[in-house]
């Protein structure tokens, strides 16, 4: 079922779901939404499955035309959405009629927005996921970012009777000054004590070299004890590696699966979603947590995600 036509693609707009799991051993990254919380919320607002594929926008959003009547929801960073040039609310169910134009204005906060479509986007399942992995040229539509003229299909689903709205207190606030919890290791012992102290007490800035693979950060130099590299080993999103120049690189969803730079720390799972909304010039400060604390935060986050469906307010 054709639902949306891409009139303008935006800066970097892709199809993403919650990711491709089980293929790291083959060198295939997990990919998936940079901010999973917002993707899940977008899906719930149109009664989709949490893992259904959505559109992920980056800074400059696309312009989309509805091919037929459907329901959508827009979540994530505040992207000033409009329907037929009239400002439209985020974090709630929206009905668009055939021919309606969905467009976006200034990114007021965050970096990425998510557009869910009732029924979920119908893109081929590749290795268990519909997520686009642009570097590997597979997933989503043609393994690439959306371009003008693309038709986005959705699975058939009945029209919703209910309009949902996310309660204000549950909507994440995307600040340009992030505080991120990290678990030190696995190679924190390869840095000097002062190096680790510098990492934990300084402010780092996201540079222009920031995309779905990772962000290069600018800030005080982190000293290694001796070597800056190691025998290549496994990498996961959230890992913070420090190459010879002492400036951290944050690994994100599309990053390579193995690497040889030393990893000083790894961001806690809920905070990786917040990092997915960071944009160039945002600042990041890292706070150390223990593994028990990290697991506690993850449990809370999972509970919040599980309760999200019940928290949605019905407005009609």
């Amino acid at each position: 079922m054709k639902v949306l036509k891409v009139q303008k693609p935006g800066l970097f707009t892709t199809i993403q779901d919650l990711g491709r799991y089980g293929y790291l051993r083959f060198g295939v990254p997990i990919s998936g939404a940079m901010d999973k919380f917002s993707l899940i919320a977008a899906n719930l607002l149109v009664e989709n499955d949490t893992n259904d594929a959505c559109i992920e926008t980056t800074l400059t959003g696309p312009e989309l035309q509805a091919w037929e009547k459907t329901q959508i929801a827009i979540t994530g960073g505040d992207c000033s959405p409009k329907i037929n040039n009239q400002s439209a609310p985020m974090w709630q169910t929206l009905t668009v009629q055939e021919g309606d134009i969905v467009s976006f204005g200034r990114m007021e906060s965050g970096c990425r927005a998510y557009i869910s479509i009732r029924g979920g986007i119908d893109a081929p399942l590749i290795l268990g996921s519909r997520s686009t992995y642009a570097r590997g040229k597979f997933g989503g539509i043609g393994g690439r970012q959306l371009k003008t003229g693309d038709l986005i299909n959705a699975f058939d689903a009945s029209s919703l009777e209910t309009v949902y709205e996310m309660p204000k207190e549950t909507i994440p606030q995307f600040s340009s000054n992030l505080r991120i919890n990290v678990l030190l290791g696995p190679q924190a012992d390869m840095f000097t004590e002062e190096g680790v102290e510098t990492f934990l007490s300084s402010q780092y800035k996201v540079t222009l070299e920031a995309d779905r693979m990772g962000y290069r950060l600018e800030g005080p130099i982190i000293d290694h004890k001796e070597r800056a590299d190691t025998v290549s080993d496994g990498l996961l999103p959230g890992a913070i590696q420090v190459p010879k120049n002492g400036k951290p690189i944050l690994i994100m969803r599309d990053a390579q699966t193995t690497g040889g730079y030393l990893k000083i720390a790894v961001a806690s799972t809920p905070d990786i979603d917040a990092l997915g909304q960071a944009k160039p010039n945002d600042t990041i400060e890292f706070s150390k947590v223990t593994i028990q604390e990290a697991h506690g935060k993850m449990r809370e986050y999972n509970e919040l995600l599980c309760a999200l469906r019940e928290k949605l307010r019905k407005t009609n």
Binding site: L24, R25, F26, G27, S232, D233, I291, M298
Partner: protein, 250 residues
């Protein structure tokens, strides 16, 4: 093209440098555990990695989501809401201990990779030969004259890191990496040899190209090779290479 074989053909006495007396268990964030057996590239550490990987797969532990074997460590991704961290470590340690006692050899398939060496397919073959005072044919003979162990797959999907090439042909990487290396390119970086599974930027010295497809996301599993496999290279002619490519596209 593939047969079962034990990797005991890789006896490597005196290669224990860089092997830890006891494996190190390190957290990689709140969802992964890294088990390190050493700090260098050596077959013994990698055999332990693969043995533990296989033992974990057999044990089917609830809460372990996937594993990533690499040169000298195994990454275990788990769901902390399904298994407690302490319990995870205890279960994996148990497996590691029994694995040590019964010392099973990692068993891999033997896979032969056809390669057209030199010319436009192997632009660095001449450099590698020159570097070591050899004729190009001698480099081909040395590279294709032995078995290699697939230590891991990584950086891009399906790229096998293999070792170790003879000292006579070990060559450092390019100083400036190429922007694009074609899929199928066979390269050398120091004592490692590898195959570009997709077109990618890279700095390995390219000595040839295989017509085989090493990564196909529409297949399960998506890669031709897996860690622990044993690889040999078979020199083929340019005509045989072209015929093989044609056959695949038919």
């Amino acid at each position: 093209m593939s047969q079962r074989a034990t990797s005991s053909s890789f006896s490597a006495p005196g290669r224990e440098i860089g092997l830890y007396a006891a494996a190190r268990y390190l957290p990689l964030g709140d969802c992964a555990l890294l088990i390190e057996f050493g700090n260098t590239i050596n077959p013994t550490a990698n055999r332990k990695v693969i043995s533990l990987d296989q033992a974990i797969a057999r044990a089917g532990i609830k809460g372990i989501e996937e594993t990533v074997p690499t040169y000298r460590s195994l990454l275990v991704r788990y769901d902390p809401t399904k298994i407690a961290y302490g319990q995870l470590i205890a279960r994996v340690k148990d497996l590691e201990d029994t694995m040590e006692k019964s010392s099973p050899e990692a068993i891999g398939r033997v896979v032969t990779i056809p390669v057209v060496y030199g010319g436009e397919y192997g632009p660095d073959l001449g450099f590698v030969a020159q570097c070591h005072g050899l004729a190009e044919e001698q480099v081909v003979k040395l590279h294709s004259g032995q078995k290699y162990r697939v230590y891991m797959l990584g950086f891009v999907a399906g790229f096998p890191y293999m070792g170790e090439v003879a000292d006579e042909i070990a060559t450092p990487r390019l100083e400036t990496p190429r922007v694009k290396v074609p899929a199928g390119s066979v390269g050398i970086a120091e004592k490692q040899t590898g195959i570009y599974s997709c077109e990618a930027p890279g700095g390995w010295r390219i000595i040839g190209r295989t017509p085989l497809r090493l990564f196909n996301p529409h297949q399960e599993p998506p890669t031709l090779l897996e860690p622990g496999d044993i690889v040999t290279f078979e020199p083929i002619s340019e005509n045989a290479f072209k015929a093989s490519i044609e056959e695949q596209t038919r």
